[in-house]
Structures are given as structure tokens and as C-alpha cells.
Symmetry: C2
Subunit: 317 residues, 2 copies
């Protein structure tokens, strides 16, 4: 079966060629791209760190305010959580760097030696092929000369041929195996990367799942002024004899009404104290408001002014 | 309570100052840092895309090999999974961009107008304070002149004073509220970001959890040649009368034994066919090996040669 032998030889050679000329350069390129990837990752980590450091500083300022203290705590926790996530993600990057890129780089460098395997195979093949050819020619010569050793030589040629077949199929199998090892190496390394990512995603998920409901609750609580520090202060102020009704519009309401583009019910709230030289309390038009304290549902000042009527700007009360 | 009034006034003014001079510039800075963050994120996405595109190409090549076909499929799936994760992560980036950064930027720009609120408060405070002072002086004058309107003026001053107190405490409360709104805005926006991240982590985790066991199984199966295509081919070859014993060492083994630094049991496998001119089959020293096919547990060639004896280079059989 010389055609089959030839096919096996060509297939083996083409596998070695593919390992040396395609797989190995592709692996080198992958190491290069992986290092770019890693650089981009570190740049992102740095950017995230700086961003959440800024959040932390804003949080620190909020901590100093008695009314926004809780929000400061939440912002600080959000920054802390990011720091934990980031250091967890560093583990993934470390895996990628040490277990993938460095290993891939080392292997691609060592695999340059693999060319000798390919050359050795070619030499071995040629030697065997020559030997077989030589013996076949010798057999042919012996048969024509009716040599008494012809039977022995026939056996010899038969053996050489089956050895050649075994050599070719074993070599092909090993070449395929070498190729397979390399692809598997790549697949297994990336399976490891995905496992590390999976661990990261699971931890990250758990971390946020622990924090998020707490933040949500605290944020909702901070929307309700009845729970807040301010309300407590105001209540105690009222207890000390402050007027419980709202006697004067605050300056924010003055601003609101001055800027309001739509018609509002307006009342001039002049003091009307005849005979006194002291000026009127409210020189401008003032929107009528209920006398009770609106404890919640206040709209921020800009809502009357901004184009986002109905939407929230800073949101909430 | 002039001291208390003064305290309230100063506190209100300092909150406005803090919003305008600290919070707002900090928010602007955060938008700037966030845009850097986003740029770094997109650079990372791009790097990841290029990296996994290269993996995909290697996978495509493996697909063309009959023996490494499954590994090619795994590599392609790994690349696909990364693409899905990446497009999922784009949703997080989009949230960050549209719902956080753009909103933060808009608010920080609109909030520049907030200075008028602060100025309005100062004007209003001065007007009220002047009025109160004027009336108090008038009352004092009236009392000295035993004016008949003194009782009316006393009531007027009392009313102005309590109005002033209400104005101050309401204004302080509103200033605190404005401050709180801003901190809460920031906290709520980042809570939203964390929720989006949580969704991403959950999906990513689910995605890898679905794929990983499958990959692991396929990779393990690919380690066992009895399941592989090659083994099937070899078996059928044997069925067609190929020698089932290993008659000749493959070239890889020749390389191995030639390079081996340690002593190996060596046998000269000369053909020893007296009277024949055909050369010996094995010119060099060859390691003795069992005649049976080693179906698994083959060590790669470099293991004898590399400094990593015992460790795996490409690994596996």
C-alpha cells in the first residue's frame, strides 16, 4: 500500500508543519494579545480605583453632615465593596498572567525545539524508505537470479514493509497526539480561566447580594424624613415653643414662585400694621401654601424651573 | 435667641457653600473620572475581543483536524461565551454611561444655577434681620416716649422674631434636604450600578456554570484515546491486517532516547540477516519498549529533555 503510506507520511509532515508554522506563531501572538489584555485590565482597575476613591471622598464629606450621615456610610460601603471586587478580580488577572500567559509563552519558546522532531521524522522516514527500496530491488534481482536466499529476502522485505507501516501509523498518531496536546493545553488553560472567573462572579454576586438589600433599605429610610435626624431636631425645636404653623415662606419658595412660569395662586402677604414705619414682611408675590409642615413629597426647587417637570433631578425629599 | 439664629444662618450658608464649592466640583470630577473609567472599559473590551478572536481562529484550525475536532469546538465555544459575556458587560457600561455619568453631568451643570438660591437666602435673611432690627429700635424709641402704640409694636416685634426663627429653621432644613438629595442621588445611582452588576454577575455565573461541566467532561474524554477518533482509525487499521505489536520504535522515541541524559536499557536491534546487503533497520541505540500499544499515559517527548521533569509541558496523552 504505497499510496496509503504516502498519505500517512504527508499527513504527519503536515501536522508538524501546522504545529510549527501555525499553532506556535498563533500561540506567540496570543501571548502578545494576552499581555495587551492584561495591560488594559490594569488600566481599568486603576481607573475604577480612582473613581471609587472619589466616591469615598464624597462619602467622607457626607459623613460629617448630621442629616446625610447615613448616605455617607452607604457611599463609603459602595467604595469598599468596589475595592473588594477589584482585589478579587486581581486574582483572576493573576491566574491569567501566571497560569496562562507565562505558561503559554514558555511552551511556545520551548516548542521551537520541536522542529528537530519533525526533521528526525523526515530523516528516519527516508532511511527506512531507502532501505525498503534497496531490499525490494535486491529481492527483484535475487528472484531473476533464482538466488537460494530469495525466500529469506522476501520475508525480510515483508517485515520491513510492515515495520514501515507501523512506523508511519505510529508516527502519524504521535504527531496527531502532539497537536492534540497543544490544543488541549490551550482549552484546559482557558477552562481554568473560566473557572477562576466563575469563582469571581459567584463571590462578587454574593458580595453584592449581601449589601444591596441593606443599601436599598437605608436609602428608602433616608427618603422618609420622619426617620431622619433633622425631623428630630425640628420636633424638639417645636417643643421649645417654636410656632408650629408655617408663618413665612422660606427663601426657596420665594425663588420658586419668582421663577414659576405658570400661574399660581398669589397672595400679597403684607403685614398691614397701620401707623408703623417698619416695612412689609413680604415685598414680592408669594405662592400660597398650606400652614402645616409638608413632611414628605417636597419637590426640589428646580422642578418648577427645569425642562424636566415631572422627572426627578436630584429626586426625593 | 440671637445666638441660635446666628448658628442656624451660618449652618445654612455653609451647606450652600459646601454644595456649590465641594459637592458640585466633586461631581464634575466624578463625571470626568467616570468617562476615563468608561474609556478604559472599552479598551479592555476591545483587547478581550481581539484575544478571543485569536482563540477562535486557533479553534477553527483545530476543527479541521479529525483528532482535535472536539478541542476546536471547545475553543470556539469559549470564544463565543466570552462574546456573550462581553456584550452583557456592555449593558453595565451603558447603564454607567447613560444612567449615571450623563445624569450626573446634567445635574452638575444645572446645579450651577443653585448659587442664586444661596444668594436669595442671604438677601432674604438680611432684609428680615434689618426689618427686625428696625422695629426693635422703633419699639425701644416708643417705650421711652411712652407711645400709646407700644403694645401693638411689641406684638409686631414678637411676631417678626418668631417668623425669623421659622424662616431660619425652615431654610436650614431645606438646605440640609438639598444636600441630602444630592448625596442620595449619588448613592442611588451607584446602587443602580451595583444592581446592574449583580444581574451581570448572576447571568455570567449561570452562563459559565452551564458550560464549564460540559467542557470539563469533553476535555477529560479527549484525554482518553479509547474514545477518540484516532483510536478508532488505528483499530480499523489493525483489523485490516496491520501488525498489532509495535515492531519499530517511532521517530519520537528515537529522539527521546537519543536525548535522554539518563541511562536506559539499550538494545541494538540490528536485523542480523546474514548475507544480505540491505542495511540494519536501527542504526542507533534504541530504548527497549514493550511490544503492546501504550494507549494512554504517554509522556510528551520534551519531558525527558526539559528541566520540568515530572511537570507537564503540554500535558496529557
Amino acid at each position: 500500500k504505497p499510496g496509503e503510506m504516502d498519505l500517512s507520511y504527508r499527513s504527519t509532515i503536515s501536522i508538524y508543519k501546522s504545529i510549527l508554522e501555525q499553532f506556535n506563531p498563533a500561540l506567540e501572538n496570543l501571548v502578545y494579545l494576552g499581555n495587551n489584555y492584561l495591560r488594559a485590565f490594569h488600566a481599568l482597575s486603576k481607573a475604577a480605583e480612582v473613581y471609587f476613591k472619589a466616591i469615598e471622598k464624597i462619602g467622607e464629606r457626607a459623613l460629617q453632615s448630621s442629616t446625610s450621615h447615613v448616605l455617607g456610610e452607604i457611599l463609603m460601603q459602595m467604595s469598599d465593596t468596589q475595592r473588594l471586587l477589584s482585589s478579587d478580580l486581581q486574582v483572576v488577572a493573576q491566574t491569567f498572567h501566571v497560569d496562562l500567559l507565562q505558561h503559554m509563552e514558555k511552551n511556545s519558546k520551548m516548542d521551537v525545539q520541536f522542529i528537530s522532531v519533525s526533521k528526525q521524522y523526515e530523516l528516519e522516514y527516508r532511511r527506512k524508505a531507502n532501505n525498503l527500496e534497496k531490499c525490494t530491488a535486491e529481492l527483484w534481482r535475487m528472484e531473476r537470479a533464482r538466488d537460494k536466499n530469495v525466500r529469506e529476502m522476501k520475508e525480510n522485505v515483508m517485515r520491513l514493509r510492515s515495520e514501515m507501516q507501523a512506523f508511519l501509523s505510529n508516527s502519524q498518531r504521535e504527531a496527531e497526539l502532539e497537536e492534540k496536546r497543544r490544543y488541549r493545553f490551550l482549552a484546559e488553560k482557558h477552562q481554568m480561566l473560566y473557572n477562576t472567573l466563575l469563582q469571581f462572579y459567584s463571590r462578587a454576586r454574593g458580595m453584592i447580594q449581601t449589601k444591596a438589600p441593606q443599601w436599598k433599605e437605608q436609602l428608602e429610610a433616608s427618603r422618609n424624613p420622619s426617620n431622619s435626624h433633622v425631623q428630630g431636631l425640628l420636633a424638639s425645636s417645636h417643643g421649645q415653643g417654636y410656632p408650629s404653623g408655617r408663618l413665612t415662606p422660606t427663601h426657596l419658595e420665594t425663588v420658586r414662585s419668582t421663577w414659576a412660569a405658570f400661574t399660581v395662586v398669589v397672595a400679597k402677604a403684607a403685614l398691614g400694621l397701620g401707623g408703623l414705619t417698619c416695612g412689609p414682611q413680604n415685598p414680592g408675590p408669594t405662592a400660597c401654601r398650606g400652614m402645616g409642615f409638608p413632611t414628605c413629597g417636597w419637590e426640589p426647587w428646580w422642578q418648577l424651573n427645569s425642562s424636566h417637570a415631572g422627572g426627578l433631578f436630584w429626586g426625593g425629599c
